[in-house]
């Protein structure tokens, strides 16, 4: 049975479905304050005194190096930096009692004045002793330049506010220890990154840790890495020699997971009167949160480097900052820096079109890169003009332009292909078992793995078991994020299959399916790849706004370069799901805080997640320019969260005549003036 069918039938086995005799349930007493000293803790089972590890970041965007003063302590070490930070742990034989115990932990605090706004943080005292500045990243990209005094300048302060990743299944782990080996079952995007992180945090030899990915109910970037709670669960399993389960509640997810976006950009776009872009200046400020261990050390650079969009940008000078605030660490969320960068440049381009009274798509054509080049900000921008010309036709822009409030987005998606990926194919008893370094967490990796094995080896789909990540079955692996699996993971599967084919040819003179299925074969391939690939995309969105300022998204169309489309159904599903998230980000999703750093959003009903009645009609067309990889595919998983907020913001601008510079767009901002 296909994985997706199994999940839809309710036959999935998620981490919370795991039951073991003697299992302990873990719970966390969390900070009530955004910033405070801890004076006293009583009634807890575990505190920093005993569990004094730190979490070093892993997963997408991880930087090298060990713990620093800013590393996230597993349990709070004398101070707290955000509401929801784990302070102490309790456990019990059942979940109900564990939750009672959380309520019985008493923590005495000395509250300090919270630092909430990232721009204010730059002017405030350093958050921690021994830290020089609240800017943990402050780097320049490009080169200072002097704009032509006759150039037009479009200046904007653009904001993508923080949002929770909100997978249906929150974070969760089960850990067990037999005296030598720690086994972990986890909801994750990467079994190997969890293994690596645990090994570092617990200072254990990697071969004493096995990490198994169970069915994972959505992740969106959040589940690429290790979390403090996981380290405590493993520590407790080893201490008590009993299995330990921790399942995040939705409230904990909203307070204390790793929310995405949270970026401000102050930018100036320079252009000639004929529309030719001449330069870009300004800064990008990431709201990092209180500790490292998320993606804040990486995301400002990644955003700044992409700010040329898919255009020819001759000059640029951008400062990239990441700033400490009293919030949970920022983390990757579907696109992880890509949607922010494209939102910023695309909003500026729409602004320039209005200033010049030009058609915004016409202006995009003028500036689309005619040749592949490396932008002054550092990323290679592929030639994009021909793609844009076909996008305009395929999306029927001219037709919509006449009749609708239409927004158009032009994007470049940088795939996280660098680092490559692994696969292992084992043939025994006439069946093929396949393990891969990245795995489905809402996609359908199993489908394309089977398609490719049919092509490579002629083996029918029902003889293939595409298994979940397991570090004991696969010596190394990376993970499923950054629109990479259809590119590097599929290529690892292809190369491993070809290796088996070669062996069979060597042994039997030629390859036959019978020889494959009758034999015992086992091939592991780490498909090495160092280059960051990219693909182009475009979105067209139409929307109306009623007399109450309510937005009705009508149509949401995509035109993406997917290279070879390995699984059209999955690609369509990725498009619809990503578009829903893109609409949610634009219209309603936000993790808001008050001036004391107290979260205003503590329930899923207030988190602004789109309900089904607000979902429009979707359409997707594929541009098929094959990638240089063995699979010839290009990832598109993050394209809709990049393109849809851009196109929808523009459609709303057209509908209301109001300048859109922030996501989500506040409903009160869109409320038209009263007529009476």
């Amino acid at each position: 049975m296909e994985l997706s069918e199994k999940l839809v039938r309710g036959e999935g086995r998620f981490v919370d479905d795991i039951q073991m005799p003697g299992m302990l349930y873990l719970g966390f007493a969390r900070s009530q304050y955004a910033r405070a000293k801890i004076l006293k803790i009583s009634g807890a089972h575990l505190t920093h005194k005993e569990v004094n590890f730190e979490v070093v970041e892993v997963g997408e965007g991880a930087t090298e190096g060990g713990p620093t003063a800013l590393s996230h302590p597993v349990l709070a070490n004398g101070y707290v930096g955000y509401v929801g930070q784990p302070v102490a742990a309790v456990y019990s034989d059942d979940r109900y009692t564990a939750e009672d115990l959380i309520d019985s932990v008493e923590i005495e605090y000395e509250p300090l004045k919270a630092i909430v706004d990232p721009e204010e943080s730059l002017k405030r005292e350093a958050m921690y002793p021994g830290v020089r500045s609240n800017a943990i990243v402050d780097r320049y990209f490009g080169k200072e330049f002097t704009p032509d005094p006759s150039d037009i300048v479009i200046e904007r302060r653009l904001v993508n506010r923080r949002i929770a990743t909100n997978p249906i299944e929150p974070r969760g782990i089960v850990a067990a220890y037999d005296g030598n080996k720690l086994t972990v079952w986890v909801s994750t995007q990467s079994a190997h990154s969890i293994k690596e992180g645990l090994s570092e945090a617990l200072k254990m030899e990697p071969d004493r840790i096995r990490v198994v990915q169970v069915d994972t109910g959505g992740a969106f970037g959040l589940k690429g890495g290790l979390f403090p709670e996981y380290v405590v669960a493993c520590y407790l399993a080893m201490k008590e020699r009993r299995p330990v389960k921790w399942i995040e509640t939705r409230r904990e997810h909203l307070l204390a997971s790793r929310p995405g976006r949270g970026v401000v950009a102050n930018l100036k776009l320079y252009a000639k009167r004929d529309g030719t872009i001449t330069g870009l200046k300004g800064d990008v400020i990431v709201d990092n949160g209180a500790f490292t261990g998320g993606s804040g050390e990486f995301s400002p650079m990644f955003i700044a480097r992409q700010l040329a969009g898919a255009y020819y940008l001759p000059n640029a000078h951008v400062r990239a900052l990441s700033v400490l605030t009293n919030k949970a660490p920022q983390g990757p969320y579907r696109g992880a820096g890509r949607p922010e960068a494209m939102y910023f440049i695309e909003r500026l381009v729409d602004g320039l079109a209005d200033e010049l009274k030009m058609d915004p798509v016409e202006l995009r054509l003028i500036n689309a890169a005619k040749e592949t080049y490396t932008s002054p900000l550092g990323m290679q921008v592929e030639k994009s003009r021909a793609f844009l010309e076909s996008a305009i036709k395929e999306l029927d822009y001219e037709k919509y332009k006449e009749k609708e409030n239409v927004g158009f987005a032009f994007l470049i998606l940088y795939h996280a292909t660098a680092g490559g990926e692994s696969a292992r194919i084992k043939v025994e008893d006439g069946r093929l078992k396949v393990w891969t370094g990245g795995n489905a967490h809402g996609q359908r990796h199993d489908i394309f793995i089977k398609t490719l094995l049919k092509e490579e080896l002629g083996v029918s789909e029902d003889l293939v078991d595409a298994l979940k990540g397991d570090t004991d079955q696969l010596q190394d692996g990376v993970g499923a994020w950054g629109s990479r699996s259809s590119m590097v993971l599929s290529s690892a599967v292809i190369v491993a299959a070809r290796k088996i084919k070669e062996q069979i040819e060597k042994k039997h003179g030629k390859y036959t399916l019978k020889a494959l299925l009758d034999g015992n074969w086992d091939e592991y391939e780490f498909f090495k790849y160092d280059k960051t690939e990219s693909s182009l995309g475009a979105n067209l969105v139409t929307a109306d706004v009623d007399g109450y300022g309510r937005v009705r998204v009508k149509e949401c169309l995509s035109y993406y370069d997917a290279g070879r489309v390995l699984d059209p159904d999955n690609a369509r599903g990725q498009n619809a799901g990503g578009a829903v998230q893109g609409i949610g980000q634009t219209l309603s999703e936000e993790l808001a805080f008050d001036e004391d750093g107290l979260p205003l959003i503590t329930s899923i009903s207030d988190a602004g997640v789109l309900s089904a009645d607000l979902v429009p009609k979707f359409g997707i067309k594929f541009h098929k320019s094959e990638s240089p990889l063995p699979s010839k595919a290009k990832g598109i998983g993050e394209a809709p969260t990049i393109g849809v907020p851009i196109a929808l913001s523009r459609a709303i601008e057209k509908a209301t005549g109001k300048l859109i510079v922030e996501t989500p767009i506040k409903p009160e901002y869109l409320l038209p003036a009263g007529k009476d």
Partner: protein, 289 residues
């Protein structure tokens, strides 16, 4: 999350229910459809040591037409009200409200009695019952008593129910021939509470307004009659001027607070606009313009 420990009772008779309530005064609460109480328990916002379920008590779910009005059993689920032709014909305002109440999953389990007894100012039915001039039957140790909807809601989550009393029936009187009502709700998405909502019930005398009841949802600590706004309508010809005046009165006399649903002034403005919409809709249903 999981609730703290509680003791659960599911008696089969209403007297038994009242006995249990009387045995644990203030500590026992009625469980009807559970659409408010279960989330409160699960999120550990509330702790209730004794839960008394009405699920096994027979005869509390009905919509009966009498000569004076319609009687509704407290355990009648919201979707039964939504799908009732009687409700749709006689009290379109209640149909408006039940059709927009949360989502179908909630409506299939949530009850009218629970919605009212919980007295959440963001619940839809308090304002509707106040606008309709409904009377509630409260059963207690010494028998039953009747309370008018407008006197039932004392404060946020606080009603005229004594600790050992249960709301058993809602009695909605018929209005005059030229009458009509409407409930207009403004919400951001399907499942959420409203930013603001308003219930308007009118009765006409020729082209003048004889009787008007207006009550709001989500914009005050409790739902109550908006008497100043009603006065702007009563005796008046319901033209644009009168309607605007009443709508402005509703907006001014409401008490919204800034929160994640929007700033105070935004809520007032939404309320003003939906009140205009609701009065116009009620007027047209009453056979006015």
């Amino acid at each position: 999350m999981n609730p703290p420990t509680f003791e659960y009772f599911a008696p089969t008779g209403i007297d038994e229910v009242i006995d249990i309530l009387a045995k644990y005064p203030g500590e026992a609460k009625i469980l009807a459809g559970g659409q408010s109480i279960i989330p409160l328990l699960k999120s550990r916002i509330s702790s209730i040591p004794y839960l008394v379920s009405l699920s096994e008590v027979k005869g509390l779910s009905y919509i009966d037409e009498g000569s004076e009005g319609v009687r509704i059993g407290a355990m009648t689920i919201d979707s039964d009200l939504e799908n009732s032709d009687l409700v749709k014909k006689r009290f379109p305002i209640l149909h408006d409200a039940t059709e927009q109440l949360a989502d179908p999953l909630v409506r299939n389990v949530g009850t009218i009695g629970g919605n009212l007894s919980h007295a959440d100012p963001a619940n839809d039915l308090p304002a509707v019952m106040i606008a309709l001039g409904a009377r509630f039957t409260l059963r207690g140790k010494g028998g039953s008593r009747e309370v008018e909807a407008k006197d039932f809601f004392l404060d946020t989550f606080t009603t005229a129910l004594e600790p050992e009393e249960v709301l058993t029936e809602i009695n909605i009187p018929f209005w005059g021939k030229k009458s009509g009502g409407a409930y207009v709700k403004f919400k951001k998405n399907t499942w959420n509470f409203s930013v603001a909502a308003v219930a308007v019930q009118l009765e006409l005398d020729g082209n003048r307004c004889r009787k008007a009841h207006i009550a709001t949802t989500s914009v005050s600590p409790k739902s109550g009659r908006m008497e100043k706004a009603e006065k702007a309508l009563i005796g008046a010809e319901l033209n644009d001027h009168a309607i605007s005046k009443a709508a402005a009165e509703v907006a001014t006399s409401s008490e919204p607070v800034s929160d994640s649903y929007g700033p105070e002034e935004y809520k007032r403005e939404i309320l003003r606009r939906i009140t205009r919409e609701a009065i116009n809709k009620a007027l047209s249903r009453a056979g006015g313009n």
